[in-house]
């Protein structure tokens, strides 16, 4: 077997240019797969991180009717009990109780339907990092009686600046119209048009002054450990049956599915790339066999067994994988490390990306297990790739092969 491997290895380097091209194509294929995987993972993970830390929190609590009615009457049930439950739960780091309703915002330059969030600024800042994403002003820390925090996109559309006036219209629990002028105390920017353009924050005390009620429609929760959100949510739910308590994955399944979809897409892409590489390898080996039919005929004539001949060709295929695979993985690793640290600046496409909530700078990342998976796949592929050419070699007629030029 040692000699068979030796012959296979040397055969690979008889036409070093051709072999180098095959190996380079394998390395390039693996590198591109790893890079794409790292890019997609970075893109999605950053999107999720941004959403969880700036917009939605780890766990959300709503009334069981909130998703059905979605009106101002759908408030969190047993509020005091629920808040106590959260305060004493060892897994909960912080929470913020929110008033949440649809409102209409007007300025002298335009109008826009918005989601009005009434929050306790101190509590909200413990759950979300929005205060770190203020472009101007403060996080509702204003001496003004009616301060409001707006997103950059909304500010642009309604031509708002710090201290600009904006009128909000919404209804109270008795269906009375509430109309009030607020003054912009801060402008935030998270890079998600859906959030920056349609969300406004006001102090909950201000909202209570206008509605005359303490209405909480949503509680967002930050946990100490994000690895087992589902079990924390389930535990909270079991003690609070009158509300709906969901981790973000359950609350926003489209985002969670996005992660699964990305994985699936990457596996499909990887399969396509490996299949393309496989054809390249088979093609190269078939050419190589046709070129040395005579030599193979001699080997058969002098008594090499079918098994050893097959193994020799399979080893030749494996050599390509053994050299090209790790090379591609190494290049992929280096690229991931570099762009993981420096980030891949796509600000040229930033506007389009931000419309969907993605950062213009992507910090590529990959689960290290994929390096092993890619290496295994390419080795398996090259092993399989040797089967057909090896079968072709063993089907040669030794006499005809020896006579061939």
């Amino acid at each position: 077997m040692k000699t068979t491997i030796k012959i296979a290895w040397r055969n690979c380097w008889r036409n070093s240019l051709r072999s180098s091209i095959v190996i380079a194509s394998i390395a390039l294929g693996i590198w591109s797969s790893i890079f794409l995987m790292g890019f997609s993972t970075g893109l999605v993970e950053q999107r999720i991180e941004k959403m969880v830390n700036l917009e939605i929190g780890d766990i959300q609590i709503h009334s069981t009717t909130y998703d059905v009615q979605s009106d101002i009457l759908s408030t969190v049930q047993d509020l005091e009990t629920t808040e106590n439950l959260l305060s004493y739960n060892p897994n909960v780091a912080s929470y913020s109780s929110r008033f949440k309703t649809d409102a209409f915002a007007l300025s002298p330059h335009g109008q826009q339907g918005v989601k009005l969030l009434g929050v306790n600024p101190a509590d909200e800042m413990k759950v979300l990092n929005l205060a770190e994403h203020l472009e101007e002003g403060t996080f509702l820390d204003s001496k003004n009686t009616y301060p409001i925090l707006v997103g950059k996109k909304l500010a642009k559309e309604l031509h708002l600046k710090l201290n600009s006036k904006i009128q909000l219209n919404f209804t109270d629990t008795n269906a009375n119209q509430i109309t009030k002028n607020f003054k912009v105390c801060g402008i935030f920017y998270v890079g998600n048009d859906a959030f920056d353009g349609f969300t406004v924050f006001a102090p909950i005390k201000t909202i209570e002054r206008l509605t005359g009620e303490h209405l909480i429609h949503e509680i967002i929760v930050k946990t100490k450990n994000t690895d087992n959100l589902a079990s924390i949510a389930t535990e909270l739910q079991s003690n609070n049956p009158n509300n709906l308590i969901e981790n973000w994955q359950k609350r926003y399944p489209e985002i969670a599915y996005g992660v699964d979809m990305m994985d699936t897409t990457m596996y499909i892409l990887m399969s396509i790339i490996i299949a393309a590489l496989l054809f390249g390898i088979v093609n190269t080996l078939v050419m190589s066999i046709l070129e040395r039919k005579k030599e193979l005929g001699i080997l058969m004539a002098i008594g090499i067994s079918t098994w050893k001949l097959r193994m020799m060709i399979v080893f030749e295929s494996l050599v390509y994988g053994l050299v090209g695979g790790p090379l591609g993985v190494f290049l992929g690793y280096v690229t991931i490390q570099y762009f993981g640290e420096k980030g891949l600046d796509l600000s040229g496409f930033g506007e389009g990306m931000e419309a969907f909530g993605y950062d213009p700078i992507i910090y590529v990342q990959i689960d290290p297990k994929y390096y092993l998976i890619y290496t295994s796949y390419i080795l398996l592929a090259t092993f399989i790739g040797g089967f057909y050419p090896s079968r072709m070699a063993t089907k040669l007629n030794p006499i005809e092969a020896i006579r061939s030029i």
């Binding site: 012959i7 040397r10 005579k294 001699i298 080997l299 008594g303 090499i304 067994s305 050893k308």
Partner: protein
Amino acid sequence: MKKVIETKKVNKIFGDGEIAVHALNDVSIEISEGEFTALVGPSGSGKTTLLNMIGGLDNPNSGNVILNAQDIGMLKKNEMTEFRQKNIGFVFQAYNLIPVLSAYENAEFIMLLQGISSQERKERVYKLLEEVGLKGKENNKPGELSGGQQQRVAVVRALAAKPAYILADEPTANLDSTATNDLLDLMYRLNQEENMTFVFATHDQRVIDRAKRVIYLDDGKVVKDELR
């Protein structure tokens, strides 16, 4: 004398119908151990076809080929491959060494397939390479050797595994006079000293002149069998 090769009414037809060519026609020969035999005839006479039959590389349409007391018609493909490996040494016209292996590695290749120990391989190959004048060329690849040197390596490869007999198809066709004579001297000496059996398919008069038995073929038939 022990019979190592025997053919009984062997027929070989290539093609079908009107284009069928009767390459061998009821060929019956016997070759015993220690013979130095040349199969001679014009192109198309059937000498290479007969050599392929007694080399176990081709099967007859009818008749029997008995090699080393084994009717090879009874053997399966893998069994035939193993039989060739253990019993037959081949020397081909165009040397046909494995280009990626050195002279030493080419020479030991069949012994490797046979599972002979490293020490024994080394002893046999170095001895034979020295005998054929290739001492110091052990690590040269075929491309670094002359035609004559390559053919000598091919002979060493065939001999080293100690086969029952050696078949050589036009072994001198690509060699100059000096290389031809050197090669024939080597094979003749091995025949004389080791009682090694050689069968040549050739139309090289220099080979024919050295043969102890000449079997003449024409149109697929044995037309003359001359013992010298």
